[in-house]
């Protein structure tokens, strides 16, 4: 060890890999992983998300799963929670779409409207009703 800078570099790298253990994260991605979600292909979606976050070495993001979100026919579903913003629900996910969400939504901050539950809101009266599930 030669300098404090060298130490700081090791620290930052190690820290990002331990980030999972810190409680609150700025961005939380939740994948619906009940039986319905898994049979609809939620596992590859989850893997793709983790993979993409790894490749881009993004920090302060947690990926976790939840049980049935309640709208089984739109599975696989992922939800993005960002502190201070409204939750965004994406439906009928595929690994490719999931990767795109990371690059567009998480990195660039643009919600991909086409994938959201809003895109099928014709079948529901409004965004709000779906939220009520």
């Amino acid at each position: 060890m030669k300098s404090l800078d060298e130490l700081a570099k090791i620290r930052d790298e190690a820290k990002s890999k331990m980030g999972v253990r810190e409680g609150s994260k700025d961005i939380r991605i939740v994948v619906g992983m009940a039986t319905c979600g898994i049979s609809a292909g939620a596992r590859p979606v989850l893997k793709a998300l983790v993979e993409e976050i790894k490749i881009r070495s993004l920090q302060d993001i947690s990926v976790s799963q939840t049980g049935c979100i309640g709208i089984c026919r739109y599975e696989p579903i992922i939800e993005v929670f960002e502190s201070g913003k409204e939750k965004v629900t994406y439906i009928e996910m595929t690994p490719e779409k999931a990767k795109k969400i990371v690059s567009e939504h998480i990195v660039n901050g643009n919600v991909i409207d086409d994938y959201t539950i809003g895109s099928v809101s014709g079948k529901y009266s409004s965004h709000g009703t779906v939220e009520d599930f």
């Binding site: 060890m1 030669k2 300098s3 404090l4 130490l7 090791i10 620290r11 790298e13 190690a14 820290k15 990002s16 890999k17 331990m18 999972v20 253990r21 409680g23 994260k25 939380r28 939740v30 994948v31 992983m33 009940a34 039986t35 898994i38 596992r43 989850l46 893997k47 998300l49 983790v50 976050i53 790894k54 070495s57 947690s62 990926v63 976790s64 799963q65 939840t66 049980g67």
Partner: protein, 598 residues
């Protein structure tokens, strides 16, 4: 280290290892592989969480779900439900970690809420066998800062200003020790860490070494820089194999990274560290005996002065401190001395770790700010006394300490208050006692320990502890006389004044303190031949309450001494007192509670 979406922390401390956490770790790995989760979920072995009794402990992040009492057969459920489907397995969570459908984070569980973790801050948080994780928690930052920005004198000053006192027993101001050792001229000096931890029941030093070994390595290097030493020894008892192994790994990793060895941080400062194993004699925790033992001599105390700071290891100036004391140092350097000086009471700064055991609901390792009251420890952190029993006393300071009664439950815990109550901080053992504990028996327990551990060098201790023990034995056997109590007291004061080392000098403390607060119990044993708590076997009598006896004869069948007479269905049964060996079998066997002991 790769990025994983979830981390499973499995406790690998001594307590959980004893309750099979190794198998749990392996099963996790197997189950994760089976479910193809091993690339996404990482399993990490940590040090002690402090809740060993609820172990084996696992915690799953990012949710922070705190699983307790986990069995191998539960792992597939946790993997399939929680890690695959995201459904926390509520039934397996620690009892206080779940409320109203939401999991509580660890900090909010009653056991942890009032705690403040400085010495234990990384225990149960990091992988102790991975230096990178320690560095991620700002590890070696303090060493770097000290070497790059401060003079040795400035470092010593910071330790002084922090108000830190020794956590190994005496509570001597740590900064003063650093100052003495740094001022003494000498080419060769040493830093020694006392990890002998001989107090029965105490295990905080073990936990630090098992859960966060690098903190000791870093602190000792800082101390070396401050006093001008380039060699250090950690003296650990050989009964701590996990601690020894992790410490060795830590030393090797630090060497490899250039955080030990030559020219650390390019500063020209060299420091090397090695481990010395102790065979577990209590007296080897005494500093001068410890130094003898490192030198390869018999572990017997030397007269002091000279103190180790003047003539320590191989007669060279030596700074000797306890594990927990050292583990505070890096934080003090990083946060500044005022930070620590603001925690605690006027003369006791920072926190202290206690091993809470005995008649208490939550046993475990707790770290509290100085000034926390005993009541908070017993009733809030400890969750009170089990089975609705009444609190009687807390014993602190182990074989050198004493008992604190309920009248003093609101005393803020610090060095000076405990001494005022004729107890002491000691290394942090805290045994809670309820109405079923006999205080004479407790004193006898500790005396038996010190008698066995006396090294025999000086007569007051070698002979005196045995005499005191014999008197206590007589009293608890119903053979005591009133003069015995006075004799005991006199002996105690004489031994205190004349023994060579701390072991002998403090050995009478458990007697003096119980005599001060529970003299009536001694007198009951002597005068009435009665043990009020019903503990001392010789003073118990078993008898049948005639009105309650249903003449069933069950008791007679259970009595190993065949001393219960009666005719089934016809006569009330009676116990022949002279033949009864007081085993208690009849009392347990009687379905009608007709047998009593008194």
């Amino acid at each position: 280290m790769d990025l994983y979406r979830a981390h499973v922390l499995v406790c690998g401390g001594t307590g959980c290892t004893a309750s099979n956490s190794e198998a749990i770790l392996n099963t996790f790995q197997k189950e994760l592989k089976k479910n193809e989760l091993d690339q996404e979920v990482k399993v990490i072995k940590t040090g002690c969480f402090g809740l060993c009794e609820a172990g084996p402990i696992c915690i799953v992040y990012p949710e922070g779900a705190f699983y307790a009492g986990v069995q191998v057969k539960d792992i597939s459920t946790i993997v399939e439900e929680h890690l695959l489907k995201g459904r926390i397995v509520k039934d397996l969570l620690y009892k206080g970690a779940f409320e109203k459908d939401t999991i509580r984070s660890l900090d909010n569980v009653d056991f942890y809420k009032k705690q403040m973790r400085i010495a234990l801050r990384n225990c149960g948080v990091i992988d102790p066998e991975d230096i990178n994780e320690y560095i991620a928690m700002d590890g070696y930052q303090a060493l770097g800062k000290v070497l790059a920005e401060m003079t040795p004198m400035e470092v010593t000053k910071i330790v002084q200003q922090s108000g830190l006192r020794g956590r190994g027993g005496g509570g001597f101001p740590t900064g003063k020790k650093w100052e003495f050792a740094s001022k003494i001229k000498g080419e060769q000096k040493y830093v020694v860490c006392n990890a002998d931890e001989g107090d029965p029941g105490a295990f905080m030093d073990r936990s630090v070494l098992e859960g966060d070994p690098h903190v000791v390595v870093e602190a000792m290097a800082i101390a070396g820089y401050a006093i001008g030493a380039n060699e250090g020894y950690v003296y650990v008892r050989a009964e701590y194999p996990i601690a020894v192994k992790r410490l060795q790994i830590a030393i090797d990793q630090a060497k490899e990274m250039g955080l030990l060895g030559d020219n650390i941080f390019d500063s020209g400062f060299n420091f090397n560290l090695s481990i010395r194993l102790g065979a577990g004699a209590f007296v080897c925790g005494e500093e001068t005996a410890l130094l003898n033992s490192i030198e390869g001599k018999r572990g017997m105390p030397r007269p002091r002065p000279p103190f180790p700071a003047n003539k320590g290891l191989w007669q060279k100036p030596t700074l000797l401190s306890n594990v927990e004391t050292f583990s505070n140092i890096p934080r003090i350097i990083i946060n500044g001395p005022e930070w620590m000086a603001n925690i605690g009471t006027e003369k006791s700064k920072g926190t202290k770790v206690f091993a809470l055991t005995g008649k208490i609901n939550n046993t475990g390792l707790v770290e509290i700010p100085m000034g926390t009251t005993l009541r908070e420890v017993v009733y809030e952190i400890g969750g009170g006394i089990p089975n609705g029993k009444k609190f009687k006393a807390v014993q602190t300071g182990g074989p050198s300490g004493g008992c604190i009664t309920k009248d003093h439950l609101d005393t803020p815990i610090d060095y000076d208050n405990l001494i005022q109550l004729s107890s002491m901080m000691g290394s942090g053992g805290m045994v809670v006692m309820d109405e079923d504990n006999c205080m004479v028996d407790i004193a006898k327990f500790f005396l038996e320990f010190t008698m066995d551990e006396s090294c025999g060098k000086c007569p007051p201790c070698r002979i005196g502890t045995k005499r005191m023990y014999e008197i206590l034995e007589d009293i608890t056997n119903g053979k005591g006389e009133m003069e015995d109590i006075e004799r005991l007291e006199k002996l105690a004061y004489n031994i205190k004044a004349s023994a060579l080392c701390g072991l002998g000098q403090t050995s009478p403390n458990p007697i003096l303190s119980t005599l001060r607060f529970f003299r009536d119990e001694y007198e009951a044993h002597v005068k009435d031949k009665r043990c009020p708590a019903g503990v001392c076997q010789e003073l118990l009598t078993y008898s049948v309450v005639a009105d309650l006896c249903k003449k069933c004869g069950i008791c007679a069948g259970k009595c190993p001494a065949e001393c219960i007479d009666g005719e089934k269905g016809k006569t009330v049964y009676t116990i022949q007192k002279d033949k009864c060996i007081k085993c208690g079998a009849c009392l347990e066997a009687c379905p009608f509670k007709a047998i009593i002991k008194s």
